[in-house]
Symmetry: D3
Subunit: 332 residues, 6 copies
């Protein structure tokens, strides 16, 4: 049986206003279930890989609906805990032109945040896994989530499972009494591939080096198990028009992908997760670093054209964009 | 200037699945802002009365949207506090035929529940008021809410304002360490009109008398300031077909209203609030007790035909139903 | 070429709130184009008959959309005038249970109401016609409309075309300075089949006889060219549940149809027009009076199950209901 | 690992007009993926059982969407074939009141109908199975489907798997040159539980006995492996109001369930499949025959209140209805 | 109490086709209530200012819905007259790319147009006001509206209230027998701030000077009470892509704002009103002329990104755009 | 009576996902009825010309809905055959930015494809016709369709009717045993105006000349009755942004139209048909070749801004774009 890419993190209900409405205008909201790590494994399942999501959903109808939704994407849900009271939520107002998109989070005290150390049998899970993915959102949510994330990373390392982490520092989280500086270094020390930018280095690793390439070098010196570091650069022309490219530190040097001009943006949420999934796919399917980078960026770019958090695009869709073929042509 | 009916309580975002969908089927939810006490004053404002809502909304776009929504109904919003982090929510799945409607609450830790004693200047408010309305949901939410509710009742009594309370005992609330038995008697002791059934008497006042008329007599003996007690009886034929009538203890005897056969039910949430508003309207506009009871019940019945929590029906609409005229006739 | 049923009257834009919303709740309205006489010929076209609508639409995009809509139903639009400024409108709020449906008209000063005598070449039209239908709404709208209606009736009689009139007295119209008593008798004098109730007899023909059968006899004595008189009786249980039957005076006696119990009502607007169309169809396709009456009532009943003003039901659908066969059965 | 209930049959795209529109009125259609056998296993997965669907979907985006949809319900999709060109479809117009609902099928030449004998490895599947379900629709579709169905039944019998069959004779199918009389007896000979009515006995087994109990006796004499025979009786008051009860032949005698009065019907498609799933659930979870019958009928009844083909109701929902508890009550 | 910005003008129902449909394609229309002057005060209320709308709405459910809608925006509605028969309407078809947007007005004979001189107690209103705003649409509608507008301006001047006027000459209006030349000069003579372009100068003031700066000088010579004149210039690349900048004559010289490139345009209706509101806000909150101009233009630009006539953007949103900060960035 | 433009071809139901959703995301699809040739005559009817569609629709409710839809556009439907079982379908997923739009056809075995030679009385039709239009899709569908198309062309030539053909070679069709090389030359030999590109020349006429002008010359030598050849060139910047221009061979030389920059594309399906209709309109209303070319291209460009297959734009709309006037300006 094909080994799985496993991710751990919170899955929330996303509620977004339709037709670019502002919150006060909306009398209905589009709903779906998403989260950074779940978006990564969903994208991999759409690519055809075996992928599993580990999370906690509350013991009510919304929790069950969350599982249905993850399952629909082809992601394995066998180790999801069903306990606790409330599902985390986020409200999204999609901007346009000069008006920014806006997210209002409502995720404190969620079932996920109340996860208890030891409640997930990671060793069973990692036996079936080839890759484990986490993000910096999880340890920011609660001490329990941080501890369980550390347990997962430890187990992954024990079973020889590659670990990727999307550092993704968010100042608004981290409200349970610990700072990122106290928690993140240990988690990163068990991680082989990281997505991180200069702000992440500073806020999580206390590395305040303004040159990205030099910063990567410093990081790798302190965390020698890290094999690759990557991030994307986004130029925001306006809320509907962005430009995007990726960079990858391959352990020795920094490379840039091509830049993609993206308009109109249908939904930019989840683009970083699609990028992460693209990188994982590239590295685990025999692409070299440069091919992987271009594949990852193309995946991130295509995500902007798909509503919702998940990149519902096939490997072929992504490869064609990476090669610049058939872009936007009507396919009959 | 006309004196106001003032209410105090939590206003939540309501998210309901469209077209009788179950939660797992929905990819959008209808949204509006509602709460038991707000529904009462909204109904009175639609009747043409001067009405004000006092509540707390969080300091974000959803809080502002809540105020806009209350204001749209014609309710005064001058003393709403804007502070705290999250808006309480409730999710509604509308049933049909034999399948029940279902509510999933997500209201803990809301901005309203974190209200602090003394934060509302009730004396200013009560100077402009002729009536104050509260419900048993508010003291069940948090100690802060209970205390502020008590402050309001005290101020109302000081200013000679009539006080009504919809006792509405809910077992799932009351999670902050106090029981209804500890809190409710003092609040009821400052209230002149109560909506309460046998369960409310038992759970809030420790009066375990199975006969409603006798129970009312006992309540009035212990709480001599109470002038009227009322409740509605509902026969649930199925989720779309109910029968409803009201009873009123006028201090001396119990009277029953006519029974209304209601199908199809468009939305039964808020019917009790519409009934409460109908009673307040009747008593404050010169109707006698029996007329008031029939007006209240007719208001409650009409609410079932209107989507949302608020009874968007005029005084004429209600009076015609109370008199049995033009029911359901096409009006050109 | 098959001869046509021709109707003359105003076609309006209908704007109705969705999902039983009250006007103040709606942020969109369903739109379609309809009018009493147009509904009759649309129904006949759906039955497969050759049918034509004569009306006036304004010289703007809404006027053209009106024509497209009439044409979609299979109705001939060759003699529609395109002139004038505004399309008449009506706003519909669909009630439920005890809450009535409500119509707000906005039809004054419409392009149709400004029609000028002589502007329609009725003789050309009547040469192709076998039947002409008008309603009492038309002469109530303006002097111009009344005059053109009279021209049509005169031309129909000249060409041996059967004339039907749905008297349909509406107090809110008749605002151009003439009363129904001044205008209607002449029009009825050229009409062979009328749909009218006791109120219509009183308000249009000054016949104030409380017994319908006797009234029909009086009408036929004064208007000897009248062959049949018919009307429907509706019991409104509530806005969603009605009972309906028809009666027909065949020149000698009165007969009643079976009574149909109708719930839930999807849309009752246009039921009378569907009934009229059913009568015309029955008489022009070899049914006897009783069969025609049952066919007409069944058509009117089925209309309640179809959204919009038009009865999108086939002859077979109607016949089966008239015979009581397969009512409501799932057809695969 | 829990053994599975496995079903085999076609899954189609269902396209239904919204809001009771007639086909010519619709400018959009609601879409979902469903089929009689898939509905049964979906219902069982919603109940919490392990369930698998075996089918064929075309090698295009609609085929993949079909799998996603089945998976969302919690049904295992591991042995679905992806081959062929087109997905079968059915169009549904939902009636109301006296107007019937109408289905237009477009399923000929579907990918499923082109399935080839031997293309499913039934022995692997049946090793994991405890129950196999098929319906009479499958052998009616094509010779290939009939043969593969026979292969499945044979394998099930070989592995001691209980077999249920919903005979469901449909005259419009059976167009590939064979009659039901030629194909069905052999399939029924390997089946232990059948859902069948008098028409099914006549058309599939040439048993033309008008008394249901006697007919069951005759069937069981000819097919001694049959343990139970069941069917439902439906009284169609109108398209929105039906009455339903079930009967079960338990090998010795016939029993009737209680009758349920169902209005308003939200969606009656799939009620028979919900009934079948209820029976399977009852028998496999220790209910006796009478409890099973009441559970099955309650499941079928609840299905009418849920949009779509699948009965999204829990075991508790069904049990409460079977016991007559909390019917239609608002659950907070 | 904070003094109010008061506006006077007509509020119409706006009916717009969804999803860029042409009128003939639409089977529903989005509805809202708007008008040039109401848009200005709504925008100011969203900014947090005290603002009041004076208008006339008909005595029916649509009139009441209009008031609810104005109130929702936080605008005071205390002096709105409820009288007359019909609400003015406008139909909007939103274009895209090369296809223009199109408005069909239906506002003649509206309740507002039938306003009678003396029917508004302007002195009471102006006592609470700090600013009065009118537009050239109002005097174009009817003699009554023109007279009441003149009464308002006179009262404002009497009470020392600053007056702004958006000249906005529209050839299609002015059908009641007077020309703009006859009416507008007197109104402008009581106005301190005007929004006007060369066409407005020519058509309303008979000043036919092709150079804007010179024209402003001439206007100020003839109307010495005018303090500022402003207008916007729009380059229409296509219906979805415009460029916009503003110019302001400050009494001595002309200044230009930066140019904003706007795509995609969600809704350009009301952009001029948002600009006007931005100017009023700037001048009344201590900004200098240049800051005010940039604030006004930024407000007008942001309006293009918001559906409907009203600029639902906060002061911070506008300030950030004026400063070029965070444009289109995702805000979490 | 004005002579008609007649077209012959298949009309399908089009089902498209809303809001740029991918197929697996959609729970409803927008539906309409369209086909290349029907789009051409619909566009001409919208321009105001007399136009007729000849096709075959199945004998079911979807077939009747197809006719209603064609009729709505003002196209004559008098010779449509109603026979056979299924309506051809196509599913459309509208892309955005870099993601392509995608069409899944489901048109095999349609009622149209089963048309029988001799089943259309072309001579009657051509007597009323001035122009006949066909496309290369029709002969690719089935031998029957190819034969009936040949019959139509022969009849048109017999009656002196101009024939246009949109060659439109599609590799996925042509599955009935004949190749385009065997069928198309004879059809083209009876055609006076063709729309064709280099691929069409190669695949249908075996002319493999890479220079378009030279290729046109060769085509005209072999098919001397051909008067004009034209095609469009499209640069796909992305799925939402294309550039388009047309070229026309007038028998002697090749001319290019201006290039139009199109963004955002609302719906590009049918743009070629709108172009064809524009050419027919130009030539039949006295434009010269260059005016016709610019009119055709402008029509094709405008189609991109209209949802659906049909170019709902007037002659004035098209002429203004061809002249570069008022592009995208708000029209009041």
């Amino acid at each position: 049986m094909e080994k799985r890419v496993v991710a751990f993190g919170e899955v929330m209900m996303r509620l977004s206003t339709p037709d670019n409405q502002r919150f006060t205008q909306a009398n209905h909201m589009k709903t779906l279930y998403a989260g950074s790590e779940a978006n990564v494994v969903a994208s991999l399942a759409v690519f055809g890989d075996s992928a599993e999501m580990v999370t906690v959903v509350p013991e009510n109808d919304l929790g069950l609906a969350t599982i249905d939704s993850i399952r629909k994407n082809g992601v394995i849900t066998d180790h999801i805990l069903i306990e606790g009271d409330r599902l985390g939520l986020y409200f999204l107002e999609t901007g346009a032109a000069q008006r920014s998109s806006k997210i209002v989070y409502d995720r404190f005290n969620s079932a996920f945040s109340e996860i208890k150390p030891g409640s997930i049998d990671w060793d069973s899970i990692m036996k079936e896994a080839s890759w484990f993915h986490w993000s910096g959102i999880t340890p920011a949510v609660s001490q329990g989530a941080a501890t369980v994330c550390a347990e997962a990373i430890a187990s992954a390392n024990k079973h020889g499972v590659t670990v990727s982490g999307d550092i993704n520092y968010r100042r608004n989280l981290w409200q349970y009494g610990k700072s990122a500086h106290e928690i993140m270094p240990d988690l990163i020390a068990g991680t082989h591939i990281i997505i991180a930018g200069l702000e992440d280095f500073k806020n999580c690793l206390s590395i305040d080096e303004p040159d990205y390439e030099k910063a990567c070098r410093v990081v790798c010196e302190k965390y020698p198990q890290i094999r690759k570091i990557s991030t994307t650069y986004r130029e925001t022309v306006n809320a509907t028009h962005n430009k995007l490219y990726g960079v990858m530190w391959d352990g020795r040097k920094l490379s840039n992908s091509q830049t993609h001009d993206i308009y109109p943006i249908i939904d930019r949420v989840g683009a970083g997760d699609a990028y992460m999934a693209g990188l994982i796919y590239g590295w685990t399917h025999g692409m070299n670093d440069m091919e992987t980078l271009e594949f990852g960026v193309a995946a991130g770019v295509l995500k902007h054209s798909v509503e919702g958090d998940v990149n519902y695009c096939s490997v072929d869709d992504v490869k064609q964009l990476a090669k610049g073929e058939n872009i936007g042509k009507l396919l009959r």
